[in-house]
Amino acid sequence: MASVKKKGVFGDLKESLIRRVFEASGLLAIIVLMGIFALLLATAVPAFREIDLKEFLTSATWDPTSPEKAEYGILSMLASTLMVTFGALLLAFPVGVAVAAYISDVASPRVREIVKPIVELLAAIPSVVVGFIGIAVVGPLIAKIFNLSHGLTALNGSLLLAVMALPTIISISEDALNSVPVSYVEASLALGANRWQTLVRVKIPAALSGIVASMMLGMGRAIGETMTVLMATGNARSFPQGFLQSVRTLTAGIAIELGEVPYYTTHYYALFALGLVLFVMTFFVNLAADLILEKQKRKLQ
């Protein structure tokens, strides 16, 4: 108490000032988010003066510069985005959870200290480098394995995105497993369960919502990833027929066309409409992940 008194009026002023700064910083994040949303909305809406909303959402043909008839259907790109993303999760989720369980329950402290930073380092690889690996290594490998003429396929994108989503899935799953109270584990072991049984029947179910949230956040990462898929999936505009076909995702579509589109044209506004769709998708995936994480926190307290 004495030390607080010494600071006197200035101490109080400083404290309230610091609080204001932190409040402002928190508010800034919200303002930026709202600002981006408002800008996207304002720039996307004019597109629908000329594009039929129903056609936009249900047509599979996207060809804005067609000399025959400009078409603005996002279905192919939407399907490609979802396909590449779910493909990535299908690969990354089991591996990610297994690695998280290994780090939290199996590995010796020394191994853990080595493996954890390495996993986190995986997140530091620039996406353009991952894309290059896709072109130079993974793509040709896929072509060889499946006897295709080229490897620029949805599978290539999924594999690379799986690698990129792994760090998120591993570190959040591991947090979730670690936050399971020790009493649960002790109770399980006391009842005669071995470590494997404890992990699979007690810890993972208790941490399940956190693990699911890690998957959702990994998904958010995969949906929004641009450079890697742009380089690795071939960017063909047709509706995806399977994982061994070239696909073009929403992000790649925007990146390819925004560069030199004439400003303030329907095509320009339509690209922002694509951005809005993407924003809404990632927003809800992240929101769901947050809600699930919140639920887990409350459950374990």
Binding site: T65, S76, A143, N235
Partner: protein
């Protein structure tokens, strides 16, 4: 919406202010006679950068001559020449008969000069036995009508198409010139530039792609390994030409090339003639090559000489 409109207003305001400022500056600094010497050039967007660079080089050599280069498209340039609002029209296509009729009606007698040649090469994997294609076959391939190499005398392999993104001029040129202004097949894989197309076709035995001729060679001037440059026939009966045959490209006999033109009203004179002579000189043609186009071959150059006289 509102924000956008305000932004547009702000921009137009800024533009107005800066225009007034620039005008005032021009009026203050330019000598009185400059207005008469100003050469007005209008037309093709393909040519606007090239002609702008040529004009800058020329103006650096001949101070006192002012050249203004505007885009707007080939049609705009030709219309301006007919209406007498420009001295030179840039155009990347030939005059339409209708435009010629209108010109003669107005007493405008166009003289046409080929100043550069624009061209593309078509490449396949070097393991592909196909050596040449007709323009019709090439169009069908990229429209997605021919799906198997068997149909054009190749192996039983699904065709794998590589192209550029829609923002590329090459994409548009190929669409207009080879696809007959029809839609590309949605299966075309859109690559980020010429180098990536070459890289992909090198690895893909069923691949086919189009690239600028300049990209076919590595630093030492050797044709890149793993690719084969196709010879192209205008139609089944006509002779085939390779884009590696420079004379065929220079003379625009290679089918996927087009001369790029400038037209004047009647025989050019004074500064206009001098500027065109500069473009056609070895120095001007060197700039043409540096900007990624081809030089004019002997035959077209002979035509040009005739039109200058």
């Amino acid at each position: 919406m509102k924000a956008l409109r305000t932004k547009a207003k702000l921009i137009s305001g800024l533009v107005t202010i800066s225009t007034v400022f620039v005008l005032a500056l021009v009026m203050l600094t330019s000598p009185a006679g400059a207005q008469r010497k100003m050469i007005q050039i209008k037309g093709s967007d393909t040519l606007v950068n090239l002609v702008q660079i040529l004009a800058e080089e020329y103006m650096a050599k001949k101070p006192g001559v002012a050249i203004a280069v505007l885009g707007g498209g080939s049609g705009t340039g030709i219309t301006a020449l007919i209406n007498g609002t420009c001295d030179i029209a840039n155009h990347s296509r030939e005059w339409k008969p209708k435009e010629l009729d209108l010109a003669y009606e107005r007493g405008v007698k166009p003289r046409i000069f080929a100043i550069a040649v624009d061209g593309l090469s078509v490449i396949v994997n070097d393991k592909n036995p196909v050596n040449s294609l007709t323009m019709a076959q090439l169009g069908s391939l990229f429209r997605g009508e021919i799906k198997n190499w068997k149909q054009v005398g190749g192996p039983d392999l699904r065709v794998s198409l590589y192209g550029r993104q829609s923002n590329s001029g090459t994409y548009v040129f190929f669409q207009e010139h080879v696809l007959g202004n029809k839609n590309y097949s949605p299966d075309v894989k859109e690559m980020n530039g010429n180098a990536q197309i070459i890289e992909s076709v090198t690895q893909d035995v069923a691949g086919i792609g189009y690239v600028g001729v300049g990209y076919l060679f590595d630093e030492s001037g050797q044709l890149r390994k793993g690719i084969k440059v196709l010879k192209i026939k205008k139609d089944e009966g006509s002779p085939e030409y390779s884009p590696l045959d420079k004379e065929a490209v220079y003379s625009a006999r290679y089918p996927i090339s087009r001369p790029l033109y400038q037209s004047t009203n009647g025989k050019p004179s004074g500064n206009v003639a001098d500027f065109i002579r500069f473009i056609l000189s070895p120095e001007g043609q060197a700039i043409v090559e540096k900007e990624g186009f081809f030089k004019i071959g002997k035959e077209l150059m002979a035509e040009n000489e005739k039109n200058l006289r």
